[in-house]
Symmetry: C2
Subunit: 682 residues, 2 copies
């Protein structure tokens, strides 16, 4: 009910449940600030930005023990009326800075009025992101200069931000000082500033200044700089929304497919490292341009960026020769997080845009692994989680609340379809799913671009436009696993002869046998086979991955893990059952294997949207213990055992509950059994 003047009214905010008593006439925004309720405002309570919209509730609220009268808030004042008539307001909404408390009231703060709003993530198990970006907007009204009390324009702006926003010390970029005077005068001594503060305790710096109330937004880029692809998310720093996501091939590929070939390139060519730095920065700028065009925004409004990448990319982006990463002891120039500017890295965004690089863990476990840790938070996991970011180089994390271990393992590019005779990148026409009949040894498959199996009616028509062009990474994993299940490949990795396998799809191909998947030659298409060398490549890649994971388990003192998270764009497409048949990942119940998608990119996005997450990941990384596989004698032992399919010594009890693998050994002296010992880092 409305109260007599002089009495305090009870104000209850939802959804926070915060409540307090306030003198009649207190603006709702002031009450919210006093209670620490998260209510946004750019204009500082002047009724012009409308960011503080609230929904008062009327009637009886038994839950809160309060009845709200129709006159619990002040009538619409002129400012509010003008705002509504000019810009419109959703029915039932009021401006929190104008509506004043007149009686007990329940006030709902809708999500879009929350400054530190929760950013939606698709995965239910994922950590929430609370919006708290390093760049914020503030509208201020600045005193005009006075010859009787002379002071600089910047000093009066500083005083205004102190008085109106309680921001004490303040600095400005030189670019702000050079535009300050005309902007202040154009805005009639009213301006909006963009402040950058990497950490709450930092002295804020003004990065940009607009005349009057700036009603637009500002943007940030979260970039996952991979050896093969560069992927970026453009985010609205005021809503946390991803406005556009885009990717392109890393232009460094022309210097070498995998990381080690790029390190070699830098060793062999005097300007090699510099050339690759130029290339990757150009790629970055191409990505920014592409994403800005896609979202139809001004690239100059991108004011913050977060980068995650492996150590070689990290060094090349910074302009550091990756020479030392090419040889033991794999010393990083620096592993700490870095605060830089767009200018430092020659990036085309806002001229004063800030850039943050997540810390690297150590050696070849980089900022991308740190970002995965930020996204998947193994250090907060109750159960023991193995996180595998499958790429040309696999980063592996194992841990729980007690401790987290990490290593890197050079899987090479086989999982991406490279160095496989019929391999290709994931694209329409590529075989991505495979089943082989254990009785007939006949394959059926699906290609990217169609949902039909190859033995289903209409398949030929469905693939007419794309053709059947090769096998992609997830396809080759299923293919080799299915060949093992169907008895076409034995444990040591040898393809059997027609006699041994009972199918003419196996045929002598040089000194070893190959398996015919698809003969398109009649229609001018490719002949798709799996050679014994292909099997060797997959064996090496999966053995590298498994032995890294197994080494971490040794160091942790365990023989099994509770769950497995497959990260990386590629991880999302892997069939857990087939990966386990291959012995690529340790044995767990199949429903304990989940995909985290591009967790590194997500980690970058978290660090972009929430400043606190940066300090958090720096702390986490400092506590992650890095294991260097190169100096661990057991790694070689695990690698040799893991070369078998699934493994020469380890049981897979959970896997064998749902299937059995034939006991086979095709070795009759003709196999290229030594072909697979090479290792690469990629």
């Amino acid at each position: 009910m409305a109260l007599e003047s002089g009495k305090d009214a009870l104000v209850i905010f939802t959804p926070s449940g915060k409540r307090g008593r306030f003198a009649l006439g207190t603006p709702v925004l002031s009450a919210a600030r006093a209670l620490g309720v998260d209510l946004d405002s750019v204009c500082g309570g002047r009724g012009i930005c409308s960011k503080c919209q609230i929904s008062p509730g009327y009637g009886s609220f038994a839950k809160h023990g309060v009845t709200v009268d129709a006159d619990a808030l002040s009538d619409w004042n002129a400012v509010e009326e003008r705002y509504k008539s000019k810009r419109g307001l959703i029915e039932g909404r009021r401006l929190g800075c104008q509506a004043k408390v007149q009686g007990d009231v329940v006030i709902d703060v809708p999500p879009e009025s929350q400054l530190h709003k929760q950013v939606i993530r698709k995965r239910a198990e994922a950590r929430q992101i609370t919006l708290d970006p390093s760049v914020t907007l503030h509208y201020v009204e600045v005193a005009e200069p006075d010859m009787h009390d002379p002071s600089g324009d910047f000093e009066r702006l500083t005083a205004a931000l102190r008085d109106q926003w309680q921001i004490g010390q303040l600095r400005a970029d030189l670019s702000v000082l050079t535009t300050l005077q005309p902007v202040l005068r154009k805005g009639g001594w009213k301006v909006t500033v963009a402040l950058h503060r990497a950490e709450e305790s930092d002295i804020p710096r003004i990065m940009h200044i607009w005349p009057g109330l700036y009603e637009g937004t500002v943007y940030g880029m979260a970039v996952d700089l991979g050896s093969t692809t560069i992927a970026g998310h453009l985010c609205d720093l005021r809503t946390g929304e991803v406005l556009a996501s885009s990717g392109l091939m890393n232009p460094q590929i022309r210097f070498g497919e995998d990381l080690m070939s790029r390190v070699s390139y830098s060793m062999m060519n005097p300007t090699g490292a510099a050339d690759m730095t130029t290339a990757v920065r150009a790629g970055m700028n191409a990505l920014f341009t592409q994403v800005a065009a896609e979202a139809e925004i001004d690239i100059g409004l991108i004011m913050d960026a977060v980068f995650v990448c492996n150590p070689v990319m990290h060094h090349l982006l910074l302009g550091i020769d990756p020479f030392e990463l090419g040889q033991a002891p794999f010393a990083l120039a620096t592993s700490g997080s870095l605060h830089l500017t767009a200018h430092d890295l020659e990036l085309q965004m806002h001229p004063s845009a800030r850039v943050y690089l997540l810390p690297c863990i150590a050696g070849h476990v980089g900022a991308d692994a740190a970002a995965v840790a930020l996204s998947e938070a193994p250090e907060k996991s109750e159960d023991l989680v193995l996180i595998v970011d499958v790429g040309t180089n696999a980063e592996i994390l194992l841990g729980n609340r007690e401790k987290v271990l990490a290593c890197s393992s050079p899987t090479g590019p086989a999982f991406e379809g490279a160095q496989i005779s019929s391999g290709q990148r994931a694209a329409p026409g590529a075989i991505e799913r495979v089943e082989i009949d254990p009785a007939t040894k006949e394959p059926r498959f699906k290609v990217i671009g169609s949902d039909l199996w190859s033995d289903e009616p209409g398949f030929d028509e469905a693939v007419a436009s794309t053709g059947i062009t090769g096998i992609c990474g997830s396809g080759i994993i299923e293919m080799v696993a299915e060949m093992r299940i169907a008895g076409i490949v034995d444990g040591p990795g040898l393809i059997g002869s027609p006699a041994q396998t009972g199918t003419t799809r196996c045929f002598l191909d040089g000194r070893t046998h190959s398996y015919m998947v698809w003969d398109g030659s009649a229609t001018g298409g490719p002949v798709i086979t799996v050679t014994n060398r292909d099997i060797r490549e997959i064996q090496m890649a999966k053995a590298a991955l498994y032995s890294g994971a197994r080494l971490l388990m040794d160091k942790f003192g365990v023989d099994h893990v509770d769950r497995i998270v497959l990260a990386g764009a590629f991880g999302a497409h892997i069939s857990p059952k087939h990966a386990m048949v291959l012995g690529m990942i340790p044995d767990v119940p199949l429903d304990k294997v989940t995909s985290a998608g591009n967790a590194a990119g997500t980690g970058a996005r978290i660090a972009l949207l929430n400043r606190g997450a940066r300090a958090e990941v720096e702390k986490t990384v400092a506590q992650i213990h890095k294991i260097e596989t190169a100096i661990e004698p057991r790694f070689q032992e695990h690698f040799v055992n893991a070369s078998n399919i699934p493994n020469a010594v380890e049981g897979f009890p959970h896997l064998f509950k749902i299937l059995t693998l034939p006991e086979l050994n095709f070795n009759s002296g003709g196999g290229d059994a030594s072909g697979g010992r090479r290792r690469r880092r990629g």
Copy 2:
């Protein structure tokens, strides 16, 4: 005497007199550090930099009550012997880090071994400068990388600086990170770093890194950027020594002689301000190149710079359009001090060199006036001091320990010989001293380049090479004052006719009279005269200066000052007596007028060599109260009164104790008495 092992020895350091007891075997450097004795070391006590040289004293020291035995210090060890044989050591010197205390001892720290040494200043009354630059050198030995405990090279360097130099948090410029790995390896994990710390509380940043022990030094530039000239001192940041001083004309002169004509240029030309910014930065770079060449040093070793300048130069150097300074209320874009980099201002020094700009006071009282305040410290003066920096624009400070007031007054370029018919800049051949015989009205003078008076034997021969070319600023002041003393000019500023003055040196020259100083036409030289318009120009200039000073005296509530300091290169050449006859400065005893030379340049040098001075001047400037002459009605009144020579209303009792001025009024209707009302700012 040497003591038994286990007992403590008394160690007394001179000249500090600090003393303490130390366990036998304590290195002298450690004892010095424990007592806070200022003993330098770059290598951190490894016996390789020799910065910690000390002189032990032996025998009986009655003053200290101690007798020092010959074995009070340990014998020369191998490190010390090797240093002495390779590099040499002054007789009697030891290395403080190697010599160990064995008994009671008196240790003298010679000036060059003091880290915070006193920098010599010529003037006895001037404040001392304690060397404490923002860039310091530190030698460290860094742990090698270890695969069993992987860490980044930068992180190990940080740990080494923490352990060996007690420097906690640390950052590095990106340019250091890009060179870190090869430099560490080249130096065998021993490196010297240059650290920058603007204030003691700042997180230090590594600016540069050298392999091994860097035995060179680093440099800084103190620059006084004036409207007419740019003057710079190149200083050794390890000794405080000025290695070279140089100056050049401000290349902006082509855009206008005085400040206001440059502000106009920027208003009239779309790219005017940008053109002038480019010009002044180019001039700065020319100065740096010139000074570095003169001192024969690598320009890339200039790592710090301090700039002082008036507000228009300040804005143009920063790239800020000085538009607002051309009109009331004369608002500065920013008046605070600025920390920038060489890159921000496109300066060619070390690529990461730091730049510090002193704060401006307000309006047209700039960082040059702040630098004068830093050098002359009016806020610490027991008596009331008037400090006048005479240039195209005069900055005037008045104050004592209670308060300090400041204003700026547009004297125009007359004091620099400009806009005077026979005026010229101070250069060989220019008349700089003048005497006129009150009886005969005949002048005699000295020209720059000769010590002889023009009526002394040998004068003609002495000036044969330079000629007699014109009158410089200090010459015109003496000339007009002598004309007033000799009765050639009256109080209102009119030159008398031949009849009124009794000399044919006065001749009708258009509607007014002129005074013939030197007729060189017979030998093809110039005819040097003083016209009545010249008198008017000087009247305006001196009236502007005096009325500014007088206004500050009003505001301070006083009618006289205790002493006067003339600053500015020109100030050093002004004859106090003649200045007072002109009524250019208030009346004080002549011995209370002193010259501070280029006090603004000295202030810049103090801020360069002592970090604490920066905080100090920022605090002082915040407390200086700026008076805007334009809005003070009394300024016009003072100006009109001060147009008279010496003054229409004020007495000059101290002056009239030593001379009398004839009471004259030549006005017979023919004078151009209104010709002097224009004012300029320049």
